[in-house]
Amino acid sequence: MAEILNLPPNLPKSQNAEVGASKFCPGCGHGITLKALAKAIDELGIQQKTVFGCDIGCSLLSWNYMDLDTVQTHHGRTTPVIYGFTRANPEAIGIAYMGDGGGLAIGAQHLVNAAVRGERMMIVVVNNTNYGMTGGQMSPTTMPGQKTETTPYGRDCSVTGKPAKAAEMVAAIADPSKSFVARSTVSNMMKLKQTFVKALKNVENGGFSFVEVLSICPLNWRTNNEDTFGRLQQMEEFFEVKEFLVPEGV
């Protein structure tokens, strides 16, 4: 007789146990990213002072995923809601969580200006190279030749320009003395968590942090497991995974 083990799920404290393990599509990178983030928050013991804002798109599904005070916003507008909050309450640790569309297209002006002003917050851009929620259109980070609903014959960079490199852009404009800027990947969750720990520590120190997370979208990519991680590997070659800015004390 098979025995059914009824063990409670092993969730970080900052993850909402009522929601359970995942509400994202099978194979989605958001679950890994959020778990890493929740673990980082637990490690720093900042759950009670963290405010989490989620963008529209797949990131929206994180709205009750965390056991954190959370607010849904509008597409691209999570950054201003969160810096509006932390300006008014400088004790808070603000996190704006969004996709590549929210960060680099519709909300790009907020990302640029938050970085330049050194807003006391962490912006997380989960880069899965497409607009997942709306059905897989081209995004600013869609890879050269990548097929999406709006580039059905593959992204033609002579027409659309080359993929945007968020971390490099932010690193170029942010104040190196108080900004943490990194690109990480869901292929290494422990390293991703460590990146979040550094980024959040920097916010605690009063700085601005930006973390781009290379992520996967097997549903819209129409890839099996092997191809999904193959694609992620290609992305890691194209988008350099590293820490671009690390201020002292982090």
Binding site: N16, Q48, W63, D69, P80, V81, G84, T86, H110
Partner: protein, 365 residues
């Protein structure tokens, strides 16, 4: 907490934009978020100049979109925060304003109308009336006070914070470039001296208590999965709004009791109408004014009563009938004839109204 600068009645000679900054301080507003656009800039300028004394906060954002959304952020943090805008800025700020409607966020905004469409003039208009009352996608509920001079600006800016925080609907002070830029005397006062207590600001996120011990984590949403789920929420909002309306509706009547010709105007144009009415009365013409102060919600009962008593209506606006459209809808079933004097983006003078009324009389009412 901020330091209030006005501790006793103080008569000052100010521009309207300056008055709004002082009013926000008297209302104990703690934070302003804003982006430069004429003719509202001096609200920010004054607010910033006063910061060392008030110890309030200010953030100049990258655009009106972020001004609106960061204001929301400040409010969620439990601060009495506000913003101000005009013209094309008012258009793009609707993005944030609709979020405030959906989430019942006590958003306060001063709108200093300028000419439109597009960039048009930076001077004056009443062409953002409809936008300020009904902007945003969906059918949000908001409160709009239309002011007619500096004392109004002071009184209603203070009131706007209390209406917003008491009833949790976005609340607007709708003025214009004339009011923003013109100078006239005004009496500033401590609201407490008028029996006005500020409704306390409360935190929506990171409120008191420990997550997982004293309370659950807050998950604030503006997205709904089901049609019926949305309607249920909105029906609740509608019921709240209708209940509130009776409590907050405001209007002004001037010689309207026996008026045969009733001028219907809002904001600064209503002031020109008063000048005209005095002149017309001297000429023996029974003219009067009905001025809605809350233009959303409109005070329908007194409006219909005044209209019923009159023989002829004259709608006048520095716009092509934006208020008239809202008012006429509420006059269904009444058959008082009406005329219009609409000057798109241009000030209406007392003479304009006098001439129009005399023309109406000449044609026979």
């Amino acid at each position: 907490m901020v330091n209030k600068l006005i501790k006793e009645d103080t008569k000052m000679f100010l521009t309207g934009n300056e008055v709004l900054a002082y009013a926000a301080n008297s209302a104990e507003a703690e934070f302003m978020y804003g982006y430069p656009i004429t003719p509202q800039n001096e609200i920010m300028h004054t607010w910033c100049k006063l910061l060392p004394k008030t110890e309030a906060g200010f953030l100049q954002t990258e655009d009106e979109i972020s001004a609106g959304f960061s204001t929301i952020g400040g409010i969620l943090a439990g601060k009495r925060a506000f913003t101000a805008t005009a013209g094309p800025g008012n258009v793009i700020m609707q993005d944030a304003q609709s979020m405030a409607e959906m989430m019942r966020i006590p958003f306060v905004c001063a709108v200093m109308q300028r000419g439109g469409p597009s960039t048009a003039t930076v001077i004056y208009a009443q062409q953002e009336t409809r936008l300020t009352c009904y902007g945003g996608n969906g059918e949000g509920f908001r409160v709009v006070y239309s002011t007619a001079g500096h004392q109004d600006l002071y009184d209603y800016m203070i009131k706007a914070f209390n209406t917003a925080w008491k009833y949790r609907f976005p609340t607007y002070v709708l003025a214009d470039g004339y009011q923003g830029k013109m100078r006239e005397p005004v009496v500033l006062y401590d609201p407490a001296s008028r029996g006005i207590n500020m409704v306390p600001a409360t935190k929506a996120l990171l409120s008191e208590g420990e997550i997982g011990v004293d309370r659950k984590s807050a998950h604030l949403r503006n997205t709904y999965n089901m049609e019926e789920e949305l309607m249920e929420v909105l029906e609740g909002y509608k019921a709240d709004y209708e209940k509130m309306s009776e409590e907050i509706e405001e209007w002004e009547e001037y010689k309207a009791e026996d008026a045969e010709i009733l001028v219907i105007a809002h904001g600064i144009v209503a002031r020109s109408a008063r000048t005209a009415i005095d002149e017309l009365r001297e000429k023996g013409i029974k003219a009067g004014l009905f001025r809605p102060i809350t233009i959303r919600p409109l005070a329908v009962k007194p409006l219909r009563a005044a209209v019923s008593r009159a023989k002829h209506l004259l709608f006048t606006e520095s716009a092509n009938g934006q208020l008239a459209q809202m008012v006429l809808e509420k006059l269904y079933g009444l058959n008082t004839p009406y005329s219009t004097l609409f000057k798109m983006g241009v000030g209406v003078t007392g003479d304009d109204v006098v001439n129009k009324v005399e023309e109406i009389i000449k044609e026979g009412i």
